[in-house]
């Protein structure tokens, strides 16, 4: 027993000695997190290491996390002062091992194991969008009385342009800017808060700098404020060769210039002959030898020209020597006869300018015409004549109104057509007595395919012959101009190929319906290929032209161009656009001069 007691006493004594030999832990008087970071190696969602910024006094740890990182669960590496234990949400955290949710407001607690000291740190997450970027820039109408709507660039880019109305151009405007996360904005070196506004002098380009200190990036932008460009009408000049008689204008697709076919007498010539001139961009110049018709022609009339795609020029006229039958010539080294003179089997009705064109499918000239010889098949109906490279052939066109229906001998009489070539196809818009309007596609052999068949404007008994015109926008869109007798207006219609109908485009223009059923005023129109701009010219008071336009961007209302005392007109108006969107308007003045105007955007003015 004593032996056991002795052993026990020894054991207790030894234990006491061992306990007494352990070093005494002295509190360090600190309870702090000294570092806190997230390594990409232990946090696969992170593209790079994130070092936390510790504010020891505020007890915050700020972590800059890319906005692309969607997780909030991280394994942090941290260091603490001696004997400190770190917990979060009751969970003890081991540096580099424990996953914890780190979000704004997350509490990270640290407690000293050997004292009563403890501290709570609050996590602050700073999103890093990793970019310095301007989000928006805008001149708000509410801040700028000279604006009629908010004005902003199409897209944010290093160099931007906005356009304002003339009243706001080169003025001081209020600009609102907005940038991305953490971005500081400077406009012309002045600090602007994101979403705030600043006055800027738009005489100069506006420098915008966006810097993101979190991302360590910056971006520069320059914004230029230009003027909304307006279309302007300019008189280019007048042209006459001798004593002028009649003319037509046609665009040459090869050189994009307007050409003029005209009849005139020069010197002591007794009869009209035909010549061609063009506007070369700065002046009128004669094209080819003058006096196209043979000397034997008693008098040439109805001058028209047409171009092949390569610019080969063909001319036609009705020659008195061949009983008012058309003759076609081609400009080579001189004017060369195409086939025979006096092509059609019967005389032509010369009341209208019938379409004369080079069909893209055959690359040969062709034309429609109205026969004027009684008791023949061609009399007063639509006829077609085409050249096959060797000879001409002519035929009565089928699929259009016949003459003399329902006991009216003149019903169905062919009035006129207007042609346009678009996308390698030929289209004509036509009118027939006491019928509506027609739009057809024309095959190389003259066969017609109806697109619009007998369209009669609502309230009108039928169409009217005067100023029927068909134009294209160069992009497949066709537009037809014709009179609406019921409404007493001249109306432009968009050709709806699917509905096979004409749809009014913009408002009509009031006209005078004469006693013979035609309209008194002459009209012309064209549609720009560069913009949905429609221009028209027509007789105003005393025959003085009115130059008008519909700018779709400004609504479908007609506006008038300012024109300085244009000469009164004695002819219809020929209007065409070139491929770049410059419009040409030509008419014959009462003094028989060809007057030529252009319509184009005013010169661009940008602060640069």
């Amino acid at each position: 027993m004593n032996r056991f007691v002795s052993i026990a006493v020894c054991f207790v004594a030894a234990a006491s000695v061992l306990v007494a030999c352990q070093p005494k832990v002295t509190p360090d008087g600190k309870c702090e997190i000294t570092s806190f970071s997230l390594s990409a190696a232990k946090n696969s969602a992170l593209p790079a290491d994130v070092k936390g910024a510790i504010d020891a006094s505020a007890k915050t740890i700020t972590l800059v996390i890319p906005t692309s990182v969607k997780t909030t669960s991280f394994v942090p590496d941290f260091a603490v002062t001696e004997n400190d234990v770190v917990t979060s949400g009751g969970q003890t955290l081991v540096s580099g091992e424990t996953s914890v949710t780190l979000a704004n407001g997350t509490k990270i607690s640290v407690a000293d194991d050997v004292s009563a000291m403890s501290a709570d740190y609050t996590i602050a997450i700073q999103a890093n969008d990793e970019a310095a970027e301007l989000v928006s820039v805008c001149f708000k109408q509410a801040d700028n009385s000279a604006l009629v709507a908010d004005v902003a660039p199409d897209a944010i880019a290093p160099e931007m342009v906005v356009r304002v109305p003339g009243e706001a151009f080169r003025t001081e405007l209020v600009m609102t800017v907005e940038a991305g996360e953490n971005d500081a904005i400077k406009v012309n070196n002045a600090d602007v808060a994101s979403g705030a506004s600043i006055k800027v002098d738009t005489n100069f380009p506006i420098d915008i700098t966006v810097s993101d200190q979190v991302a360590g990036k910056s971006a520069k932008y320059v914004l230029k404020v230009g003027k909304i460009l307006e279309y302007v009408l300019t008189r280019l000049g007048g042209f006459a060769e001798g004593s002028m008689n009649d003319f037509t204008m046609t665009m040459n697709p090869a050189d994009d210039a307007p050409y003029f076919a005209y009849t005139r007498k020069v010197g002591d010539e007794k009869n009209n002959n035909m010549s061609v001139a063009k506007w070369d961009g700065s002046s009128f110049v004669i094209v080819g030898p003058t006096g196209i018709a043979d000397a034997s022609a008693r008098s040439a009339s109805k001058p028209r020209i047409a171009f092949a795609a390569d610019g080969t020029l063909y001319a036609t006229y009705l020659g008195g020597d061949v009983a008012s039958k058309p003759t076609v010539k081609k400009l080579g080294s001189g004017w060369e006869l195409v086939g025979e003179a006096g092509i059609t089997p019967q005389n032509n009705n010369s009341s209208y300018n019938y379409p004369f064109f080079v069909h893209p499918a055959s690359n040969q000239p062709a034309f429609f015409w109205n026969g004027n010889t009684k008791n023949t098949a061609s009399y007063r109906v639509m006829n077609y004549s085409g050249f096959n490279g060797t000879s001409w052939s002519s035929n009565v066109v089928s699929g259009v109104p016949a003459l003399g229906v329902e006991g009216n001998a003149n019903a169905g009489m062919y009035y006129t057509s207007s042609y346009v070539i678009d996308g390698g196809k030929v289209f004509i818009g036509s009118s027939f007595n006491e019928y509506g309007y027609y739009v057809h596609e024309v095959a190389a052999d003259g066969t017609l395919t109806a697109i619009v068949d007998n369209f009669i404007p609502a309230g009108s008994p039928h169409g009217l012959p005067g100023s029927v015109q068909l134009k294209s926008d160069g992009n497949g869109g066709l537009y037809f101009m014709g009179a609406d007798r019921g409404a007493g207006i001249m109306q432009i219609y968009a050709v709806d190929k699917d509905a096979k109908a004409l749809k009014p485009f913009g408002n009509g223009i009031k006209v005078t319906i004469s006693s013979n059923g035609g309209i008194t005023e002459d009209f012309g129109f064209a549609v720009s290929p560069a913009d949905l701009l429609v221009i028209s010219a027509y007789d105003g008071e005393g025959g003085v032209p009115v130059f008008a336009y519909i700018d779709v961007d400004g609504g479908y209302q007609w506006s008038e161009f300012a024109a300085a005392s244009p000469a009164a007109a004695r002819s219809t108006y020929y209007i065409s656009f070139d491929s770049k969107g410059v419009g040409y308007i030509a008419y014959m003045a009462t003094d028989y001069t060809i007057e030529l105007y252009s319509v184009s955007l005013e010169a661009d003015i940008l602060p640069e």
């Binding site: 012309n188 100069f204 420098d207 003015i605 602060p607």
Partner: protein, 159 residues
């Protein structure tokens, strides 16, 4: 007559003489210059042109060794007695002196808009000079390195 082996040996020696080690020379002198977009130091302004915007640029050349803090560049505008500020020309306020280059920014614009005037006196000094006067970086040269320190100023002449 020199024999062929001797001629070859001479040729090789000549080649070796030309094979001195290329010595790299680094230019690390910071400098600031003023020029227009064509790199010119002067331009004629047509007095008939109205609202003509012209743009100069202040350009600093400084390696990251020097460019750790923003560099401030000051310039003066010397107006000839034939020109009137606000009537003949106007400088964009935000591009007036001084201009501060943040690290990483090496070019800043100075923009001048010119107005047409009908009161032009050719006998007067119709020049407008922008001359760099000072920078915050002591080592920075004003104008391009060289005795002429070209491009330390830009001169407009309105004619």
């Amino acid at each position: 007559m020199i024999n062929k082996p001797l001629a070859a040996l001479i040729g090789v020696l000549v080649l070796l003489c030309g094979c001195r080690k290329h010595q790299e020379v680094f230019f690390d002198t910071p400098f600031v210059r003023i020029e227009d977009s064509n790199g010119a130091s002067s331009v004629i302004v047509d007095r008939k042109l109205d609202n003509l915007l012209t743009e100069l640029r202040l350009v600093v050349s400084a390696s990251s060794h020097y460019f750790t803090e923003p560099i401030v560049v000051e310039y003066e505008i010397i107006t000839g007695n034939g020109l009137v500020e606000g009537k003949d020309y106007r400088v964009q306020a935000s591009t007036l002196s001084p201009q501060t280059f943040s690290p990483g920014t090496y070019s800043l614009p100075i923009r001048v808009i010119w107005y047409a005037t009908d009161t032009f006196d050719p006998s007067k000094d119709n020049t407008l000079t922008f001359r760099i006067t000072k920078t915050s970086l002591p080592e920075m040269l004003i104008g391009c390195p060289g005795t002429d320190a070209i491009k330390k100023e830009f001169i407009f002449t309105k004619l």
